[in-house]
Symmetry: C2
Subunit: 309 residues, 2 copies
């Protein structure tokens, strides 16, 4: 391959190990951390870059986002000819399956209640819940959602999956599109959101949709904070229709200390840790895709800006 | 089938729904809750019965224990001709897989640390741990242990299994017998105990064996309290060799309020809730086995008193 230049422009990321990994895998490339006024690059590796980056680098051929969600990136003005590529799986799918599985298990098995009792010095026993009363609905069946749905099916939960077009997954009852959305919600007690954030899916977890869940519903949001109307969730918890929620993502992160989610006992929050970008897996995936693009081959994870993911 | 009599003698168990379930499935049987001085029965369904029960019922043909572990039962003098049958799976294997999976995931993903930070109002991030540094060893590969090992393999953990004789399980590296026990321990960082409690396995989790785990080891005991030497676990946590433990079973249950496990921050306890006896599944299994025994067929789960399980 001919020499080429990669500009690395990632917020909140220690660049040194990324540069070392990219340079080791791509010895013919000139890889550097972007600085204003830098030379023009062929490719970019980005996470939450400033608009100025793209304004100064209008010639980019490819942009690799080191995350699965590109909603923030699509709010910027991007070089129109650049191929925008997101991470697919890269070690995130198993993490998401872990995170959601433990959340569903802990709610189903009352393990948070037992933990609270133990903190208070109480040895208690509650009647086991019935698995047949705990259908779980997974919204979004991409690489992450499909892996989550299959992990839940492995634990013998009844699993519903909702996606834009119908997906056939072992052990998962499929629902598709707007026409089947209400049926999907009414068939689910636990709701797991793994949708991409687009204009169509913003605010999709709201009073109307969450009211359709089965009584005692439980919401797990591991996609984006802007999918959820915060006040509607709180109102449905306070009314008793929802038993609670586990939230890993928020409209503003870190979650501001004044936000009521910090103090609502039925809401568990985690600091956006459900599926972390794993550096080595991500570098390997980016290098493979960059090599394929250089050879004119197609790659997975190319973002359609109109679709939004 | 000819009429026969079943005596129900289960501590800490509401008898009404069990009797209703057994009577519905076995209309030809006379099923009743044991009272001292009762008529002689053909079969018994028991959980922690008193010695007096067997002293008054020396003619029993079969004894069904409504749990998987029979260690407490084998301490009693039992009618020598009676076939002793334990529950196999009956909905417990998936529960055990759930419980252990969520425990391993929460430790591996630092979710207890994140929860503690959130309780203190802190939004924090820690570097992800490496899965390759988290081999999990499962002691005991019966119906429950095998299911647990396979659930952990599903989450891409490196899984070691130790059993009396070698067991071939997909995705599980097998170790067998005393000769390979130290290798098994040295290959594991997280240790999950699912052994039956027998004279051979009592106190098997002690200072010598737990010291052989990889540094930062973590112990999950879901079998019996008498497998673990409590003071040895505490000493290895205090020395820093072990990172902590999750304990669901104890030498005395409920765990006495003066026991140091209640106050050790690196030890999480739950009140013997890892795999609950599920009534409907258990009744179905007992009825099926009783029918087979009546017809002179063999059944699974017959206890060998010499082996101890």
């Amino acid at each position: 391959m001919t020499p080429f230049r990669i500009s690395f422009c990632c917020s909140n990321t220690d660049p040194a190990p990324w540069l070392a990994g990219l340079r080791a895998a791509l010895p013919q490339a000139n890889v550097s951390v972007w600085q204003p006024g830098d030379a023009l690059a062929d490719y970019a590796v980005v996470w939450a870059p400033p608009q100025q980056f793209f304004d100064e680098q209008p010639q980019l051929k490819g942009i690799f986002n080191i995350g699965a969600g590109v909603d923030a990136l699509l709010k910027l003005r991007l070089p129109p000819q650049a191929t925008l590529v997101r991470l697919e799986d890269a070690g995130m799918a198993v993490q998401m399956a872990e995170y959601v599985s433990q959340a569903v298990i802990r709610h189903f098995r009352d393990l948070e209640t037992y933990a609270e009792d133990v903190r208070n010095g109480h040895w208690t026993t509650y009647p086991p819940r019935q698995r047949s009363n705990f259908p779980v609905g997974v919204m979004g069946l991409g690489a992450l959602g499909a892996r989550v749905a299959q992990a839940l099916a492995h634990f013998e939960f009844s699993v519903n999956g909702w996606s834009r077009s119908i997906k056939a997954l072992d052990g998962v009852r499929g629902f598709a599109g707007a026409a089947q959305f209400n049926d999907f919600l009414a068939s689910s007690r636990v709701l797991v959101n793994l949708l991409p954030l687009t204009p169509d899916t913003a605010n999709i977890l709201n009073r109307d949709t969450l009211s359709r869940l089965q009584p005692g519903g439980y919401v797990i949001n591991v996609a984006r904070g802007a999918h959820l109307v915060d006040d509607d969730l709180l109102a449905l918890i306070h009314s008793g229709h929802l038993a609670g929620a586990l939230l890993d993502v928020f409209r503003t992160e870190p979650l501001p200390s004044a936000h009521p989610f910090w103090r609502e006992p039925q809401i568990t929050i985690t600091p956006h840790t459900s599926a972390r970008t794993l550096r080595d897996d991500s570098i390997a995936q980016i290098v493979g895709k960059l090599d394929a693009l250089q050879r004119g081959h197609s790659v997975g994870g190319i973002v359609d800006p109109l679709r939004g993911y």
